[in-house]
Every structure is written in structure tokens, then in C-alpha cells.
Symmetry: C2
């Protein structure tokens, strides 16, 4: 099957200059602020984004060098298939975070809830629309009862 090519539309400026210490999920980083610089040639595509309180950021996990089909979260006692986890060490290193959009200044998006490393390339931005989420009969498998551990965990805990 053909290789898919994407060109970054922007870059994340974050207080996290290295891997260790980054919250493992945006929800564990709600106070951490930074910004997304969308390259000027794409700036026009941001019109009206500021009306949304939250945005979905899709990004390239550019520092991941060791993909694996198994992942062992530090707050759990066993391995799982990588697609059943949010581990960054995936066959295609694609990151997904929902962050708060505090304000937009032209092509700069000021955000809260950062769990990305400084310099992370951004591939896409989408508005966060709660009505698109499923809201009944949700099951979360092996994560049942372990959400708190996940939210408190930081990279480098193990």
C-alpha cells in the first residue's frame, strides 16, 4: 500500500524541552501553557477557530525511535497491544491531544493542557465537538479502575 506523506502545518512551543517529565495525557497537564505556531501560509485556515474552547491537535511524535507492537504502561501490571494503549511507541507515531484554546493571535494559538514536547510538528487542527463523541455503553477494557494512575503518570516514571 502506498506511503502517505504529510507536510507539517506548524510547530508546538512547549515548556517541555525533553522527553522526561511530560504528562502522559493532556488531561494531566491542564495548567501547562504553550502555543502552536501555524505557519503563515496556512494562517487563513484558522478563521473562526477562536470560537471553540477546545481543539484537537494531531501531531507527529518526532522523537519516537523505537516503535513496538506491545506496550507496558507503568501504572499497570501487564503488557497490552500498542493499539489498545496511548503509548507513543506506535508503528505510525501520530499523537492526538485535546487542549484548551485560550486565544488566537493571528497564526499563533495560545493553549493550555500541553502534553507535547517543544518543537513537535503539527499535522492538523480540528475543532473539538462534544456531540460527536459516543455517550452510552462505554467500556474501557484493561483501563477500568486505572484512569487515575494514567492521569497522574509522567513520562520517565519507569
Amino acid at each position: 500500500m502506498e506511503i502517505v506523506n504529510y507536510r507539517p502545518i506548524g510547530i508546538i512551543h512547549s515548556p517541555f524541552k525533553e522527553h522526561v517529565g511530560i504528562p502522559r495525557q493532556a488531561v494531566g497537564a491542564s495548567e501547562i501553557k504553550g502555543n502552536i505556531e501555524i505557519f503563515e501560509e496556512f494562517g487563513e485556515g484558522l478563521l473562526d477557530l477562536e470560537g471553540f474552547s477546545h481543539i484537537i491537535v494531531i501531531f507527529y511524535l518526532h522523537k519516537v525511535t523505537n516503535p513496538s507492537l506491545k506496550a507496558w504502561p507503568p501504572w499497570d501490571d501487564k503488557e497490552h497491544g500498542v493499539f489498545a494503549t496511548r503509548s507513543p511507541h506506535r508503528p505510525n507515531p501520530i499523537g492526538l491531544s485535546v487542549v484548551r484554546l485560550d486565544s488566537r493571535d493571528k497564526n499563533i494559538l495560545h493553549i493550555s493542557g500541553i502534553d507535547m514536547m517543544d518543537g513537535t510538528p503539527v499535522l492538523d487542527i480540528k475543532p473539538y465537538i462534544p456531540d460527536l463523541n459516543p455517550n452510552k455503553d462505554i467500556r474501557i477494557g484493561w483501563l477500568t479502575g486505572k484512569i487515575e494512575g494514567m492521569n497522574k503518570s509522567k513520562s520517565g516514571d519507569r
Copy 2:
């Protein structure tokens, strides 16, 4: 900035053989069933995924040929920046849907709520975890009061 290369990990088998008539959002397609064939070499990464009722599918919008920085949803009366919409005609054609995982049979994922075209290449699968979603002070900008129109809309309406 460097080009990002991803290799598809699977393919979507869907009743939609062409663009016209596809629900514009998965939430408008809850009864529509299909499956995701994960290529065998990645099958081991699916271990324990079946414990989750819903999964996030990230896919390549392989039929999109006319990206634009503006989008005009058919149920709205004006244009918006493409990053403030869910239009597929984005600079990087990356699709994101949350679908119901009915069952897993080895490397085949049987799903409901399909809004993707048959043959769509899959880039990543992540478990859907409601606790990672923001749940207060949500604003949805220009979409306020227009969700129903969005959910009922199908591709080709205009």
C-alpha cells in the same frame, strides 16, 4: 520542515463505494457496519483492544484531491477556516472517527458507525477513553445551534 511518512497499518471495508451519500460524521452513521482489516504484521498490536467499546480511527482521506484553507459546510450560511471545520479538504488529509468496536476476530475489527469510504487506508487505532475529554466550559463557536444539521448531512448534499 521535514516531510512525515506513514505506512498504512490496515484498510477499511465499508458499504460506501463512492463519495456521495457518506454520512459527514460517524455519529450520523451509528447503524452502518463494516470492518477494519489490520494487516497481519501488525495484528499483535491489537491484543486487549476488544475490551474497549469504542475506538479512535485515524485514517488517510485518500480520495481528497482539492485541499483548501476555507470550507463552507452545506448546513451553514458562510465560509470558515478549514481548521475550524471537519471538512475533509484539508492541507493534510487526515480523518478522525470514533466508532463502536462490535468485536475482534484476530486482525479483523468489526465496527459500527462507519463514515469512511471503502478502501480507506488506516494509519492508527487508539482506544477511546472518555476521561481524556474536556468536560466543562465547552464552547463550539460557529457550530452553536447547528449540530443537528451537521449530523443529518451527507456528502454530496451540495
